[in-house]
Structure formats: structure tokens, C-alpha cells
């Protein structure tokens, strides 16, 4: 009798090997230590940290959070401690773990993007970059990086020149044609794509008649947006050859597997961390259980499975 092979959860994102497909979504996992009490960070496929910029950003005034039906709006406004402080104060902690660290970053201009990207190259303990071109929280003129194909091409190409690290481009879902934006990012040098970032939304308090968020609009995340995210991953999988990291409303292993079947090589868990701080490892365990029940040996075999037939 042959020993049953244990289920293999390994996946690759370009040159990056992950022990399992479960990553954290930028902005929902702090810089890592916040969750160390609740899970063994070594178990994660990768840790993606809060979006960083050249200089620290103070972010938007509160209220920054509004709950909506099966979702939440946030307008954090990209508050972060800046790249220098991150490397000095936060990275040493993360280096203690075997889990790859992916740095999410953004800029206010083309130059800032390029400059920010160049800061990570050669820094020990940083395994890949995730470039956020899609944050809907910044004021006018900003979100154009992720919604105008020409600008996306320009900024991704500029960043590509500045880094040898695997470059993941995180797409905005607030576009007419996500497949087009994906192709543009691929052609401009992206090694992988993350999708989706939050949908732009808003809520009004009918008693005060004012927007509930101080910043008026915010980004919608959570289970509410999962159907949109699944559709986009499915459409983009058909359109590009590079691997996809799927996210948007993942709450459990079933949701994560749905993203993989839609075409994601890995997944990121965001809002769910707020609901259950140990959800990431529960998802990994749930994936293993699913594979054992279904006698699936390689989780890789599920990537894009919904496209077959």
C-alpha cells in the first residue's frame, strides 16, 4: 500500500515560493506584530504590510470606519509611518519569521512611486513589492494612477525599472474594463497582480444629514464585495499570463478556494482579520481539510479550475 501523500499547499507567485496561498491583505494586518498574539506568523503564506510611502502620512480625520451590510467602508487615508521607519522599526520583528514579507507601497507622483520602489531593493527581509495604484481614499486626481491605462502603464514601467524584487501590481476595481487594466500592468512589467482593492462607496447619517465618514467617500471591503472580486479575478485570469492574488471578502476556506478556482494563485485575507484575528490560520487549516476530503494532492491544481469545461 502506498502512503497517502499529504496535501501540498505550496504555490508560487513568480519567483516567490509560498508554503501556502494565504496572505494578509495590506492595511488589515498592521505591520505584523498586532496579530502575533493570535496566530503563529510562521504559518502564513506571506505577510503584506500596511501601505507605505516615502514620508510618513497622517491619514484622514475620523470617523474613518463605517459598517455597512456585510461590509465596511474605510477612509484611513493611507496613514503610515513611512518607509524609513518601517525598515528600521518594523522589519526586524518580521525577519524573525520564515514567512516572506511583501511590502505594499504607493506614491503621490510618478517620481515618488519610483523613488519608493528603489528604497526596498537590497533590503534584507523584503521579498516582494505590492504596488497600490488603486486606493480610492486620496483626493482628486490621485486615483488616476489605477484607472487610466496610459498612466498605469507609465507608473508601473517606472517602478519596474527601479526594482529587481518581484513586482505585484494591485488593481483598482473601480474601472470599466478590469481585463484591460490587467493587461496594461502585465505589459508594463508586473510579475503578478493583486485584485481587488476596495470599491469606492459612501454612507450618509440621515439624522445629521452628513456623510458618515469625515472624508465623505471610503473603500468598501468585506463579504459584500466578494461577487465583484470573484468576477474580476475570473475575467483577468483569461486576460493575462502572470499569477493573480485574489482578495475581497474572504471570510473562510471556502471563499479562499472560490478565488483560487476563479483563477487566483494565492489569496489575501483582509477585513476578516478584524472579525476574527486568527482567521488566516483557520483558512489554511480549512484548505487542508478540503483537500484531504477531496483527495486533492496539490492545491495548485485548483487554480483556475472554474474555467475548465
Amino acid at each position: 500500500m502506498v502512503e497517502p501523500l499529504s496535501s501540498n499547499l505550496e504555490v508560487t507567485i513568480g519567483s516567490l515560493k509560498l508554503k501556502n496561498p494565504v496572505m494578509t491583505a495590506s492595511g488589515t494586518f498592521g505591520y505584523g506584530p498586532e496579530y502575533a498574539e493570535f496566530i503563529d506568523l510562521n504559518r502564513l503564506g506571506a505577510i503584506v504590510v500596511k501601505g507605505l510611502s516615502l514620508e510618513p502620512k497622517e491619514g484622514n480625520p475620523p470617523p474613518r470606519i463605517v459598517e455597512t451590510a456585510s461590509g465596511m467602508l474605510n477612509s484611513i487615508g493611507l496613514q503610515n509611518i513611512g518607509i524609513t521607519a518601517f525598515i528600521k522599526e518594523k522589519l526586524p520583528f518580521l525577519k524573525r519569521f520564515s514567512t516572506p514579507v511583501i511590502v505594499n507601497f504607493f506614491g503621490d507622483s510618478l517620481d515618488e512611486y519610483a523613488e519608493a520602489a528603489s528604497r526596498f531593493d537590497g533590503v534584507d527581509g523584503i521579498h516582494a513589492l505590492e504596488m497600490n495604484i488603486s486606493c480610492p481614499n486620496k483626493q482628486a486626481g490621485w486615483s488616476v494612477f489605477g484607472t487610466d491605462p496610459a498612466v498605469t502603464c507609465e507608473v508601473v514601467s517606472a517602478v519596474r525599472k527601479k526594482t529587481k524584487l518581484p513586482l505585484i501590481v494591485k488593481l483598482s476595481p473601480n474601472v470599466t474594463d478590469i481585463a484591460l487594466m490587467a493587461r496594461v500592468a502585465e505589459d508594463s512589467g508586473a510579475d503578478a497582480l493583486s485584485l481587488i482593492n476596495t470599491l469606492t462607496g459612501m454612507a450618509i447619517d440621515i439624522r445629521t444629514r452628513r456623510p458618515k465618514l469625515a472624508n465623505i467617500r471610503g473603500g468598501l471591503s468585506g463579504p459584500a464585495i466578494k461577487p465583484v472580486a470573484i468576477r474580476m479575478v475570473y475575467d483577468v485570469y483569461k486576460a493575462v499570463k502572470i499569477p493573480l492574488i485574489g482578495m475581497g471578502g474572504i471570510m473562510n476556506a471556502e471563499d479562499a478556494l472560490e478565488f483560487m478556482m476563479a483563477g487566483a494563485a494565492a489569496v489575501a485575507v483582509g477585513t476578516a482579520n478584524f472579525v476574527n484575528p486568527s482567521v488566516t490560520v483557520e483558512i489554511i487549516d480549512g484548505m487542508t481539510a478540503f483537500m484531504e476530503r477531496g483527495k486533492i494532492q496539490e492545491i495548485r491544481s485548483l487554480i483556475g479550475a472554474a474555467h475548465a469545461g
Binding site: G30, E34, E37, S70, N74, I76, F274, P277
Partner: protein, 290 residues
């Protein structure tokens, strides 16, 4: 054991028109909750409502904790529907409690002529459901505190008998005068701490924002140290989402003194957002940028 646990409800009783006391049996996480800390409570195992709700520690019990809450919106209405035997997910204790300085008797530096009963005994102020947060502090003070408790109406004043047993110096007011003085806690505060009070107490306060702001104004103008427990919408409760911020003066700004700061354009260096769930919920009044 980490602070994310499943707790069993052992009681969920009405303690007033729209108020309930939730008793929870919690596994021991090895942490002793302190007055001013809070918990994130999952009101239902569902994606709607999605987020946990923050509630202050009301009381530490032998088997776990008690939370005192106001039935206000969707989540608290669902919470009110739970019965003994149900279980729920609980994250906590979170945040920093009130920094407690044990009250001392009046010393030489405090002349015997001061008008307040326990000169250096702290003044604890609760506005509305803010009583939940300061209640364990009042207990801790073992009678050595002046307690001011204000609410909208008589219906919103909770656990009065119990409170009266916990402190000798207890002052009540309501907006409509339906119980205690008619007026707000600031009126009370001014009465019990007239301008010539020498031995100034610490102030601890929890309540609605306008009240806290007024308390802060009072304390700063009188050079009294006041610890205020703030609220903001929260997603995670553990410092990860950056949702629950308040602007706090930076150390540099504080070192400069108030006047210097007011004279120049405020810059990012003067104040920075801090997380109420991590650096708070209790902040010093003088540090808060309103």
C-alpha cells in the same frame, strides 16, 4: 492563551429602559482586566452585522466579566436578544485602563480650609452610558472619590442604589431635572471645585464627546490633570486597522507649551493620530486635539 475567546452568556438582564447587563463566563487568558479597558464583542455569528462592538469592562466577576450596555442600534439590539447559555466571541481586555493614583488624605500642602470633602480624592465623572467605563474605577477607589453622574433623564441613570453604596460623595444631574440637579456635569464640577480650590484632584471621565470636551476645557483651564476615555468607531480593536484615531499632541508640541503652538501654523509635527484602541482609550485631556 490569547485574548480571542469564546465566552458563555450567564445572564443578560434589563437594568433600565434601554440598558442591559451582560454576564459572561470567560476562559482564563491570564490577563487581569483593568478599569477603563474594553472588549470587542461579536453580537452575532453572521456577516451582517460584520464587525464586533466595543464595550467597556463594567465588572470583573469570579467566572469572567460583566458588560453594561445601551440598546442603541442594530448590534446592541441583537445582543439584547441573547439568552443565558448562548455563547459569543470576545476579544479583550483591550486598551489601557485609567492610570490610577490612590487618593491620599489632605496633607500640609493642602490647607484644611478647602471646601471639597476629600480634597485630593479624584473626581470621577460619568455621562450617560459612560458609567459602564468608570464603574470599576469607582469600586476601586473604595469610597475615596467624588462621583458626578449626569444623564439625559431619570431613565438613563443606572444602578443608583449600588453607586450610592460605593461612594459618600455622589452628585447626580439630568438634562431635564427629572433626577438630581437640572443641568450637566460641568455645572456640578464648577460647584464642587470653585475657582479658589487649592488641593486639586485628578479627574477621570467617560461620556459623550461634547461632555468630554467640556470637561477637558474645564480641566485645562484650571490646570487639573484629567483622564478621558474616548470612543471612536472600531474595526479591529487591536491597532491593526488604524480606524479609531484621535489627534494627540506630539511630545515636541507639548514641550513647546501652549502659546508657542498657537502662534504658528499647526503642522503635522504638532499632533499625530493615535489609536484609541491601543494608545487609549484613556488619554490626558491636555494632550487631545479636539
Amino acid at each position: 492563551m490569547n485574548r480571542y475567546v469564546t465566552a458563555e452568556i450567564t445572564g443578560n438582564f434589563s437594568v433600565g429602559k434601554n440598558y442591559r447587563l451582560l454576564s459572561l463566563r470567560c476562559p482564563d487568558t491570564g490577563r487581569k482586566p483593568k478599569a477603563g479597558q474594553f472588549y470587542m464583542v461579536q453580537v452575532r455569528d453572521s456577516s451582517d452585522p460584520l464587525l464586533k462592538r466595543p464595550f467597556s469592562l463594567f465588572r470583573k466577576t469570579a467566572e469572567g466579566i460583566q458588560l453594561l450596555y445601551r440598546v442603541q442600534g442594530k448590534g446592541t439590539t441583537l445582543l439584547a436578544g441573547h439568552v443565558a447559555g448562548d455563547s459569543l466571541h470576545l476579544l479583550g481586555p483591550l486598551g489601557n485602563g485609567y492610570p490610577v493614583q490612590k487618593p491620599v488624605a489632605a496633607t500640609a500642602s493642602a490647607p484644611a480650609s478647602v471646601t471639597v470633602a476629600h480634597a485630593a480624592a479624584p473626581v470621577i465623572i460619568a455621562g450617560g452610558i459612560g458609567i459602564a467605563s468608570v464603574f470599576p474605577l469607582i469600586e476601586e477607589m473604595k469610597g475615596k472619590a467624588t462621583v458626578l453622574y449626569g444623564a439625559r433623564t431619570n431613565d438613563d441613570l443606572l444602578l443608583l442604589d449600588e453607586l450610592k453604596g460605593l461612594t459618600d460623595d455622589f452628585h447626580i444631574c439630568t438634562d431635564d431635572g427629572s433626577c438630581g440637579e437640572k443641568g450637566n456635569v460641568i455645572d456640578l464640577l464648577q460647584k464642587i471645585l470653585p475657582a479658589d480650590t487649592k488641593n486639586l484632584p485628578l479627574i477621570y471621565a467617560c461620556g459623550p464627546k461634547p461632555m468630554l470636551r467640556a470637561v477637558s476645557g474645564f480641566a485645562v483651564s484650571r490646570n487639573i490633570t484629567a483622564y478621558l476615555s474616548l470612543e471612536e468607531h472600531m474595526a479591529c480593536g487591536i491597532g491593526a486597522c488604524l480606524g479609531c484615531v484621535v489627534k494627540i499632541k506630539t511630545k515636541e508640541a507639548k514641550d513647546m507649551g501652549t502659546e508657542d503652538v498657537q502662534q504658528r501654523e499647526s503642522s503635522a509635527k504638532d499632533a499625530a493620530y493615535q489609536r484609541i484602541c491601543m494608545e487609549g482609550p484613556v488619554f490626558k485631556a491636555e494632550d487631545i486635539v479636539w
